[in-house]
């Protein structure tokens, strides 16, 4: 004869947190004791739409203010990351795009800095359309974002110069590794998904547009006297090359 299940056990039963054997024991106890069935029904009255209610509350979170606050946080100190760590973490990144960026950059700190395009490709490989789809498109914010890029990298970017055929301008932000700022301007292409134009300061001389592939992404990169540029995305290389030419002609003007 089994002891009468406790409220704890009945709640765990309701919450589906019992293994098969425990479940069966409670099933048979309920079958044998109508009072227990009533108790279970009583406890189940407390099954409220908790998730819906708090999802509603989360929609009221002052997200813009929190994001702005996160933007002011210092970049992380050099911790002992591993690639594995980051890729595992990336799966759980549902909390904050900005925080994700910061943590990712912390991870980048441990990487060799000789190839910034590899770093960017590692990063962009994690973008999916949903990463960018819900970013608000706001003229004022876009201007402010570009001013930050201009100031950090000695650029003169205007939204009109950055428009690309087919792809929608989504966000401009400063990333950084080892004290080296990287400008990242993200676009969303309705067909090929996320795309980015990334820029760092570079004085290693001019370089004509060159194509390459990293992490399954197509890249076109070039350099002028002060900056190195790259366009990266899943678009065909020929499209990226055309866009690169468009950008070069506008930005050198």
């Amino acid at each position: 004869m089994n002891a009468t299940p406790s409220d704890e056990q009945l709640v765990a039963y309701l919450d589906n947190q019992l293994d098969t054997e425990q479940r069966e024991r409670i099933d048979s106890a309920i079958a044998a004791d109508p009072m227990l069935s009533l108790r279970l029904q009583w406890l189940d009255r407390s099954s409220l739409p908790f998730k819906d209610a708090y999802d509603e509350l989360a929609r009221q979170a002052p997200v813009a203010r929190l994001q702005a606050m996160l933007d002011t946080l210092p970049p992380p100190a050099r911790p002992a990351y591993s690639r594995r760590w980051f890729l595992a973490a990336a799966a759980g990144l549902v909390v904050s795009g900005v925080l994700a960026d910061r943590l990712f950059l912390g991870w980048l700190l441990t990487r060799e800095k000789d190839n910034w395009r590899e770093l960017v490709a590692d990063y962009m490989a994690l973008y999916v359309p949903q990463t960018l789809a819900h970013l608000p498109v706001d003229e004022t914010a876009r201007h402010a974002q570009l001013r930050i890029l201009d100031a950090r990298l000695g650029l003169d970017l205007a939204p009109a110069k950055l428009l690309l055929p087919g792809a929608e301008f989504k966000r401009a932000q400063i990333l950084e590794y080892d004290g080296v700022p990287i400008a990242q301007i993200t676009y969303l292409d309705p067909v090929h998904g996320p795309m980015a134009l990334c820029i760092i300061r570079s004085n290693s001389g001019r370089q004509a547009p060159t194509e390459e592939q990293r992490r399954g992404l197509n890249i076109v990169y070039w350099a002028d006297m002060e900056h190195a540029w790259m366009l990266i995305g899943r678009n065909p290389t020929s499209d990226l090359t055309e866009m690169a030419q468009l950008l070069r002609s506008r930005l050198s003007a």
């Binding site: 406790s6 409220d7 704890e8 056990q9 009945l10 709640v11 765990a12 309701l14 919450d15 947190q17 009583w42 406890l43 189940d44 009255r45 407390s46 409220l48 739409p49 908790f50 998730k51 819906d52 209610a53 708090y54 509603e56 509350l57 989360a58 929609r59 009221q60 979170a61 002052p62 997200v63 203010r65 929190l66 994001q67 606050m69 996160l70 946080l73 210092p74 992380p76 100190a77 911790p79 002992a80 990351y81 591993s82 594995r84 760590w85 595992a88 973490a89 799966a91 759980g92 990144l93 549902v94 909390v95 904050s96 900005v98 925080l99 910061r102 943590l103 912390g106 991870w107």
Partner: protein, 161 residues
């Protein structure tokens, strides 16, 4: 980030404290990024950081200052006619959860809102699984005593339920 914030609000019941908690959590997460254990979920890790900051720093200070907490009504603000029905139901649920003692409140939140298993809740809160079970049983016993949720009176269709 909304998820972190609502957990901060659930614990503190004050919006500005929730803001501070999110900020402190992010700062701490960046400092301790090296301690993040590969293969675990980052959102859970962030929730546990927020919880420990609340427990060890914010709450302790607030208790010393003798500040009270605010009423749950302030937690959800209603903007006009937007989804009034959803809001009213949500507000009732939140008010009932807010009326629970803190330990039960956060356990209910992690298990039923965040959908964590008992084991995961125990890890975030750093308590034995048996404690999670007894808190949930106590919370459900209290919550079961309320009348069923009632929908808002709809002026065109009359009472919904």
């Amino acid at each position: 980030m909304g998820r972190l914030w609502r957990y901060g609000l659930l614990l503190s019941r004050q919006r500005h404290v929730a803001d501070d908690l999110v900020q402190a959590t992010c700062v701490r997460a960046l400092e301790r990024a090296g301690q993040f254990v590969s293969g675990t979920r980052m959102d859970r890790w962030l929730l546990s950081i927020l919880h420990s900051i609340w427990l060890n720093e914010v709450r302790a200070r607030r208790v010393r200052l003798g500040q009270g907490t605010v009423d749950a009504d302030e937690a959800l603000s209603f903007d006009g006619e937007y989804a009034a029905q959803t809001h009213v139901l949500a507000a009732q649920v939140i008010r009932r959860v807010d009326a629970l003692p803190e330990a039960q409140r956060e356990t209910v939140f992690l298990a039923y809102v965040e959908g964590l298993s008992y084991r995961e809740v125990a890890e975030v809160l750093q308590v034995p699984i048996g404690t999670v079970m007894s808190r949930l049983a106590a919370a459900r016993t209290k919550l079961a005593e309320y009348p069923p949720l009632h929908a808002v009176r709809n002026p065109t269709n009359g009472e919904r339920r």
